[in-house]
Symmetry: C2
Subunit: 228 residues, 2 copies
Amino acid sequence: MRISELSTRSEAAATAIKYYVREGLLPDGTRTGRTTTVYDEDHLARIRLIRALTHVGGLPVSRVREVLAAVDDPATPIQHVLGVTQQATAGDLEEPSPEAAERVDALLAARGWQVHPGNPGRRMVAAALDAADGTGHIFTDETLRGYAAASEQVATADLDAVARTGTRAAAAESVVLGTALGDRVLAGLRRIAQEAETQRRLPGPGCGAGSDGPSADPVDPAVGPRDR
Amino acid sequence: MRISELSTRSEAAATAIKYYVREGLLPDGTRTGRTTTVYDEDHLARIRLIRALTHVGGLPVSRVREVLAAVDDPATPIQHVLGVTQQATAGDLEEPSPEAAERVDALLAARGWQVHPGNPGRRMVAAALDAADGTGHIFTDETLRGYAAASEQVATADLDAVARTGTRAAAAESVVLGTALGDRVLAGLRRIAQEAETQRRLPGPGCGAGSDGPSADPVDPAVGPRDR
């Protein structure tokens, strides 16, 4: 296909596509004439991968290049692709307090989770605990245990998805997209489940989840679009 | 306490604290002299709330103001505080394709989840499905069902945490911080669980999760800090 069709199908501007080629993220197309270059389905798939990382994952081009290098090297094991992707999509990580780091370690030990000290998740969790500290321990041990059990279910679904892929290339793509886009899918499903669970609890007796009164209408106007 | 102590304890610069007061996010301190203003623990808690929303949640000041207005109004039910917080922390939401929106609706129906059409989670999930589209259906129905079950566990933990709070003010704070910081906690725990689950599967027979070879070392160097 020509660049115009590639642009339409990928929803990336032709200038963006040329930029990806210049930056070495996307292989160049095949020249079929003095002014014509054609692209194939692999180019399309690669652009979606790039945009999932940049537009949804918020990664800078340098990080995308690292991830793609791991994806494209057939000698790189899938668990290494996962490690590179986890690091790249973890965002800026501040140094957590020793107290928060200890709470995370205790949670991991209780769950029997064996991970490398450099797993970015440890710092992500500890930094969030620090940010909540001093505001009345929002994340109690009980809440963290509930989150950990749910996260194990998520990781199982993630690895099952990778295992269902047929080739190393498909597995690598699944790891990268699943990690970068999956956080967003899960944040969305959490919001849906929170509302569904609130509505399930509120009409019943003795619930209220901290609400200061009965709700006349189970659908709260705050979560709907405003009237125009 | 003086502003210098408030600054040290909150880790917010004095100029940032004055900015929050000017923007109406933080009540002014009490003047005790011609040049002295004192602040209390409520100021400290409020600064942590503001910074959790701005620094971790990435919210602009206008959105923080909306959330705090809902938190501070005793007549606003907790489920409304949740709705406002969900909207504010959902990020930019593009219009999803009808196909992706339909897949999300089918998932909700299968789960028996009743939510308002305006719940931002619907668009978050659908937009992520669109971003993955054309790259070989990473998020299969099976994966989405696993994610949905896990999200229900998360929402249960969230609402249990809110229910354990004693006052409406504490419940509102729990809703806001739990939503804004909880996404980050969960993204971190997911990365930890992914590595733990990978290591659990890899040494066993017949596993590999798409890996192209046996792993000699269960700890992958990619997830550790680089040697210097």
